[in-house]
């Protein structure tokens, strides 16, 4: 399945106002990997995701998805394999019912209406919001909106799922459910989040960004327990890895 490799080659991006948000990022993500991208506010995580999806064009470097370089010509082809859930679900839900929103992608893939229906139903079921089918997206609670946004991306059966801070403003139970959905998703996942406990649970690999640069890239466990590194990046060791006040040992020692 080498054709689903996601590769960033020395990416640079400068915003029109001169702000350099991404400065020389390279990585290679294999099919089925699940990668967390972490870093302080303003580190350049969202910008990086937008470069990967072709929303922004890099100033230098290139993005290669499944051996195909992302250019203006290949953009539409490549995008059919990508699904991105935005930080703010309001930006993503623009139809009048949840059903139509989830059907928006498949309809653009020119599937016939029966196939569209099938995909919509299966996506809604997966996320557990079949009952919201006919509701208007703006009528939903924050968590339900997030779930709908995820369903609208799953219905396109992407090979690569990209999520920008998917757990923010979810209550603990909804967060749990989302994590279950995500861990059941067998293709490539790229997730940015400040919820490091979620990253620890879902991702095998973590890339740490600081000021537009990748300052670390490795197994999640190693990185998230590295106190100096995390401090340097303006982060903290996840709570679930904090030392136990009773026995005084860090939990990561356990395994």
């Amino acid at each position: 399945m080498s054709h689903h490799i996601t590769e960033a080659r020395d990416l640079f991006y400068v915003y029109p106002d001169g702000r350099q948000a991404v400065s020389g990022i390279s990585f290679r993500i294999h099919h089925g990997e699940s990668v967390g991208i972490i870093g302080a506010n303003g580190a350049g995580k969202s910008t990086l995701l937008m470069l990967l999806t072709g929303i922004l064009r890099p100033a230098k470097g290139e993005v290669v998805i499944g051996e195909v370089r992302l250019t203006k010509d290949t953009l539409n082809m490549i995008r059919q394999r990508l699904g991105m859930v935005f930080q703010n679900p309001d930006d993503q839900l623009f139809m009048t019912t949840v059903h139509d929103d989830v059907a928006f992608g498949p309809r653009n893939l020119m599937l016939d209406e029966a196939q569209v229906e099938e995909r919509v139903i299966s996506a809604l079921e997966k996320v557990g919001i079949s009952h919201l089918k006919d509701r208007a997206p703006y009528h939903l609670s924050a968590g339900e909106k997030r779930a709908a946004a995820i369903a609208s991306v799953l219905s396109m059966s992407p090979d690569i799922l990209i999520l920008d801070e998917p757990t923010s403003s979810l209550d603990p139970k909804s967060r749990r459910r989302l994590m279950k959905i995500l861990s059941g998703f067998e293709h490539t996942k790229i997730i940015t989040s400040h919820d490091l406990d979620m990253v620890l649970e879902l991702c095998q690999r973590v890339i740490v960004m600081k000021d537009g640069r990748a300052i670390a890239d490795g197994p999640a466990k190693d990185i998230l327990t590295n106190k100096t590194l995390m401090e340097e990046a303006g982060l903290e060791i996840p709570l679930s890895l904090h030392g136990c006040p009773v026995c005084g040992r860090s939990k990561s020692d356990a395994d």
Binding site: I55, N76, Q92, F94, T96, N108, M156
Partner: protein, 269 residues
């Protein structure tokens, strides 16, 4: 502020009503739009002194509301809200027109007659437009517009405007609320914040437009707005428009209430 909140609920309310299921809801949106348009044109084609002759035009909105299971209260509430404007303009007539007119064998102040006529026409037209919305919904309107060959970029833009109204109304409402919390006054916005307050919502809006577009593209959007299964117009739809059209034409040609009254009073005699 209450303005904004009310607007949100108005829109939400209509969305919800339009998602019901009834004979009227199942009609093709275009049929409903056409019937309403014919209705409005025939209604306003009555001259300015028409009053009793307008009454048969009550049947159409009553039918739509009843058959479409639309509760009367919200529609009547909206009517009350709109009415002051019509009443204002209407009231200028008795002020400026002190003449009299003969009607139904009585002489009446023509200004007041015009006033009554305007209020009846206004209420009927407004109620019917609202009922159209309550039984058709915005998707239906978009579908009819496409059927009427309105270019898709306009329809798309209209739908996006519609969709984002709720989001931006909430955003504006929250901004005004936080302003009120620190301004300790519930009057209007002070001059010094006009630019920054509205301007910042505007800039955020523009960024949001960009993100919306990106999100659409990522889901394969290429300029065509697929509304999905489009109901096909049926004979029922055709008959609906023709039937009401005939009734409107008949009521326009013949003063039905007067005829009815003649019949009844004749019978009584």
């Amino acid at each position: 502020m209450p303005n904004i909140v009310n607007a949100i609920y108005n829109i939400r309310g209509f969305d919800e009503l339009a998602r019901q299921d009834s004979f009227i809801h199942r009609l093709h949106p275009l049929a409903k739009l056409l019937a309403t348009l014919v209705y409005t044109v025939v209604l306003v084609s009555f001259d300015k002194y028409a009053t009793i002759a307008l009454l048969p035009f009550l049947f159409f909105p009553v039918f739509m509301a009843a058959a479409g299971r639309i509760p009367a209260v919200p529609i009547l509430k909206r009517l009350l809200y709109i009415e002051p404007m019509i009443i204002c303009v209407g009231l200028l007539n008795p002020l400026f027109d002190r003449g009299t007119t003969s009607i139904l064998g009585q002489t009446m102040s023509s200004g007041w007659l015009i006033f009554i006529s305007i209020v009846i026409k206004g209420s009927l037209a407004v109620a019917t437009a609202l009922l159209l919305m309550a039984t058709t919904g915005m998707d239906g309107i978009a579908l009819s517009l496409r059927k009427l060959k309105v270019p898709k970029i306009f329809v798309l833009q209209l739908m996006l405007t519609y969709r984002y109204i709720s989001v931006l109304l909430e955003e504006a409402a929250r901004t005004i609320q936080s302003y009120a919390l620190r301004a300790f006054s519930s009057k209007g916005l002070k001059r010094e914040v006009w630019g920054p307050l509205l301007g910042q919502i505007l800039l955020r809006t523009m960024d949001r437009a960009q993100r919306v577009y990106d999100a659409m593209c990522l889901r394969g959007f290429a300029g065509e707005y697929h509304i999905g299964k489009a109901p096909r117009p049926s004979w029922g739809d055709f008959l609906y428009v023709m039937g009401w059209g005939t009734l409107f034409a008949a009521s326009r040609a013949v003063n039905l209430p007067l005829w009815l009254g003649n019949l009844l009073t004749g019978a009584v005699k």
